[in-house]
């Protein structure tokens, strides 16, 4: 799912994702692409667009122009650095979100007292639309790469936090008792039992957090023009270079698809020893 859902539910899209699996299809691969003939409408739309280009207003350039626009950006040496900046912000932001989300999720999941104490604060923080966070972040941190990463992390960590917390609650107490009765030390228990047991839940969170991280990266870039694909989109639009703008939107869409595919693959790899879900 690529729709940006900052501040929205966490475990809920997991239910939707589970509902995605067609009856009989392997549940693990929830990224089954629908029949390719479904590309027809989109294809027709693009063809139509191309053919009627002459009669459309200037800000609807035909698809072929988009490719030209991208080529121009590449040749001008703008495309690659922008893409790199976006990827870097995304990666750092998501990474920090995973670390922070897991850590706080563990703390909150392990201690009901801590959970209660932090609940209102976290609920409030979670509800902040990242768009509103951006001006505050620029106020406090300026127009820097750090600011970008902070905003991305602040939006992406919630689903990981909440899923880690619920994952911890779902760890069967018998498993923990067994580990204790085998005289495993605390750190061993954490490393060999708790963390692997949490991995599936953490990944549910990551699946949601990754698209969020990408979208927020683009959001920050569009709003603050610091660097990255988003900034480039804004720049192109301001210079009335619409074709480039569309080309960049296409690039953003490709990034989105790539992120989803990557997370799926990563999940399959990391959870390869875990039993199939369900």
């Amino acid at each position: 799912m690529t729709a940006a859902v900052p501040g929205a539910a966490d475990a809920v899209p997991a239910a939707a994702a589970a509902a995605e699996a067609a009856p009989g299809a392997a549940r693990r691969r929830s990224g089954l692409f629908p029949p390719l003939r479904g590309l027809l409408p989109l294809g027709l739309l693009l063809v139509l667009w191309q053919l009627t280009a002459a009669r459309l207003p200037l800000y609807f350039p035909p698809p072929t122009d988009w490719a030209v626009g991208l080529r121009e950006l590449w040749d001008a040496g703008l495309l690659l650095p922008a893409a790199a900046a976006t990827v870097r912000t995304f990666g750092l932001g998501l990474g920090a979100a995973i670390v922070l989300g897991t850590a706080v999720g563990l703390a909150v999941g392990a201690s009901p007292a801590v959970d209660r104490a932090l609940r209102p604060t976290l609920e409030f923080a979670r509800a902040m639309p990242p768009a509103a966070v951006v001006p505050i972040a620029t106020l406090l941190l300026g127009f820097t790469a750090t600011m970008k990463v902070v905003v991305v992390t602040s939006a992406a960590l919630w689903s990981i936090l909440l899923n880690t917390r619920s994952g911890l609650r779902q760890v069967d107490p018998v498993l923990l008792d067994a580990a204790r009765s085998l005289h495993l030390r605390g750190s061993e228990r954490l490393r060999k039992v708790v963390l692997p047991a949490l991995l599936p839940s953490v990944f549910v969170g990551v699946r949601i957090a990754a698209p969020v991280a990408l979208v927020i990266t683009l959001l920050v870039e569009i709003l603050t023009q610091v660097d990255g694909i988003g900034a480039l989109i804004g720049l192109s639009q301001r210079n009335f270079q619409f074709a480039r703008g569309y080309g960049l939107i296409l690039v953003a869409a490709l990034f989105s698809l790539a992120v989803n595919a990557l997370v799926s693959t990563l999940q399959e790899y990391v959870l390869r020893h875990h039993p199939p879900a369900g």
Partner: protein, 268 residues
Amino acid sequence: MSQAGPGSTDAPRTVACRCRGASVELGIGPRSRCILDSVDLDLLEGELVSVLGRSGSGKTTLLRVLGGLLRPAAGSQVAFHGQPVDGPPQGVVFVFQNYAASLLPWRTVDKNVALGLEGRLPAEQLKTQVAEALETVGLADRARDYPWQLSGGMQQRVQLARALAMRPRGMLMDEPFGSLDAMTKASLQDQLQVVHQSTGATIAFVTHDIDEAVYLSDRILVLGGAPATVVHDIRVDLPRPRHQLATKELPEFLRLRRQVHNAVIGAG
């Protein structure tokens, strides 16, 4: 005099586990319930003791206290091999009723069995002990499978193997065969006997199955009352090794069975 244990003579046996005045209260405030009330018991070295009682009679609670998984109320004294119990005691392993939940689903069978030994033994010895344990429970050929690929009975055997690999002096088992079908149960009961005979470990075994208790044990502790205490302590003097059919046809078996049955009913 019971005749279990390797090299056993008629010499008096030492106490493996001593429990005095164990009380457990669960819940807080007005909702608290006293589960156990001043339970006293001794487990002798090499004995196989069943803890029997109706559902909800506190058998599991008692076992968890002995296993250091539950802290009893102040004033209780529980010691294993002379050491006071504060957390899972050295040399004692716990076998859980919910075998599926006690195994790590992301580890293969052999890695699961090795869990308690990792970092504590040199690699070679670890491999040997794991292999022996799997051999004992008859799962040597499933070593590389995952728990979810095995049947319920096999999973319980894996848990058993994990316990055996530790070469324990004591085993505490919480209704280990409760959720298995009759044939698997019988097979595992006999396997437990073999293990008991060959290792001489002290085994405390919670069950609500009277036949099982009489068949397996040297001694049966009947728990009853609310809060629970040990209301009966019945010696089982059937000859060993015991057989599913032959032993269960002995008049002594039937007499004991009736005695225990009445004890459990009467214990309330």
